[in-house]
């Protein structure tokens, strides 16, 4: 049990997706101008990562992993090179499904997500979650926890950046630094802060 909790914290803070691993930066920077939008994106990320990583774990271990077809008398088949296409398909399908389910049963949440859900299909952080799951060979429970943790870390980071950027909208910056430039410098400073978490993990 403690193992899972540690994995959750590591995924959320030490291996923070945008700040430490540089994943999902495009949406991270593009949608962090307003805190409300940033928060919506963060929640959507958590939901989608929490669903797709365990789903892809099932797909990988029962269909693609080396030896997965042993029950059918084909033990030497190794389809793991297909994992990219399979994962993208699963992600696109589950994002679509999630959107339809939310629209049908909880329209208020669906309205709050707005345009972010469909965008997440081509979000590198989501695909990376599944790829890391394969690379580090997590179990099903671990991959669910890992997905949720990474999503939470993304949400925290993007909400913080959104808040800082709103505040900075009134600042008098040099023209060349306005917008993208200062966003990078801010992200760098936040990343410096999050680097402290990795020291914490190393001390354990």
């Amino acid at each position: 049990m403690t193992g899972l909790w540690e994995l959750f914290l590591t995924a959320a803070f030490v291996d923070n997706m945008p700040l430490t691993l540089f994943l999902g930066l495009c949406t991270f920077l593009a949608l962090s101008r307003r805190p409300e939008a940033a928060l919506g994106l963060g929640v959507a990320m958590t939901g989608v990562l929490g669903v797709t990583v365990p789903l892809n774990h099932l797909v990988y271990s029962y269909l693609l992993a080396p030896g997965a077809w042993a029950w059918a008398g084909l033990p030497e088949i190794d389809l793991s090179y297909l994992s990219l296409i399979a994962f993208i398909g699963v992600i696109a399908a589950s994002v679509q499904l999630l959107e339809m389910l939310l629209d049908r049963f909880v329209p208020s949440i669906h309205a709050a997500f707005g345009v972010f859900l469909p965008l997440l299909t081509v979000q590198c952080a989501i695909l990376a979650g599944s790829l890391f799951m394969v690379e580090r060979s997590y179990t099903l429970a671990q991959s669910a926890v890992f997905g949720l943790g990474s999503g939470l870390g993304f949400a925290v980071a993007v909400a913080m950046l959104g808040a800082i950027r709103t505040r900075l909208a009134y600042a008098d910056l040099p023209p060349g630094l306005r917008g993208l430039g200062i966003a990078f410098v801010l992200t760098g400073l936040m990343s410096l802060g999050f680097a402290a978490f990795s020291q914490m993990a190393a001390a354990q």
């Binding site: 920077l29 990376a128 410098v185």
Partner: protein, 221 residues
């Protein structure tokens, strides 16, 4: 003659003036993650340029046959197949670099630069200009990657491509490596400064203010 000039500007515009990374915020994830050394940065640039050029050519060649509603899925499948090929080639012939790049090669699939170019340009243009445009964008991306990768490796380790350029203090030289350069934050800082530099040279790229301050009530100087 004008056609040749148009082709030339399609190729060279994305290098600095319309650079995909510094101006359009496309493909940043991989641009930062793989730039701790020059070798990985160059490999990533080459891989991305190949995938981008080929996928633009393919998408553009079948552009009249892709139904509009499912075009994203078709494009992603084309890109993903190319990425799988590149990934397998890297694993087979450059095993060490492939390990250093970890999942980031696979992430070319969702690199917004690739989808952005196929969606914005290749879908509406014949294969030749589409591939030229994609190649130009790949070069623009590579330029940023190589710049940042070179700076980080040079100041972080005193090396370029693994060869010592600045003699290290430990080894009797004078240079003390800045280990911050190898950590994540420095990549953000360098890219931020690069954007600032580009926009100072080309002021038309700088973004408009979000809020103009209210007119000052004090008498103007």
């Amino acid at each position: 003659m004008t056609a040749a000039r148009a082709t030339w500007s399609t190729l060279t515009d994305p290098l600095v003036r319309q650079n995909p990374v510094t101006l359009q915020i496309l493909g940043i994830c991989s641009a930062l993650a793989v730039t701790t050394t020059l070798a990985t940065a160059v490999t990533m640039s080459v891989a991305l340029t190949i995938v981008l050029t080929l996928s633009a050519g393919l998408v553009s060649a079948i552009r009249r046959h892709i139904p509009g509603t499912i075009r994203l899925i078709v494009q992603i499948v084309i890109v993903a197949s190319l990425v799988i090929v590149i990934d397998q080639v890297l694993q087979a012939y450059f095993a060490e670099i492939s390990r250093a790049l970890s999942v980031y090669v696979g992430l070319i699939t969702t690199n917004c630069l690739v989808l952005g170019r196929t969606e914005a340009f290749a879908r509406h243009n014949p294969p030749f200009p589409a591939m030229i445009d994609a190649f130009g964008n790949g070069l623009g991306y590579s330029l940023v990657l190589v710049t940042i990768g070179g700076l980080r490796e040079l100041f972080g380790k005193g090396e370029l491509f693994g060869r010592t350029i600045l003699p290290l203090a430990d080894a009797g030289g004078w240079f003390t490596p800045l280990s911050l350069m190898l950590l994540a934050p420095s990549a953000f800082f360098l890219l931020g400064l690069l954007v600032w530099a580009v926009r100072t040279i080309l002021p038309e790229q700088s973004e408009a203010r979000e809020h103009t301050p209210p007119p000052s009530t004090e008498p103007a100087e």
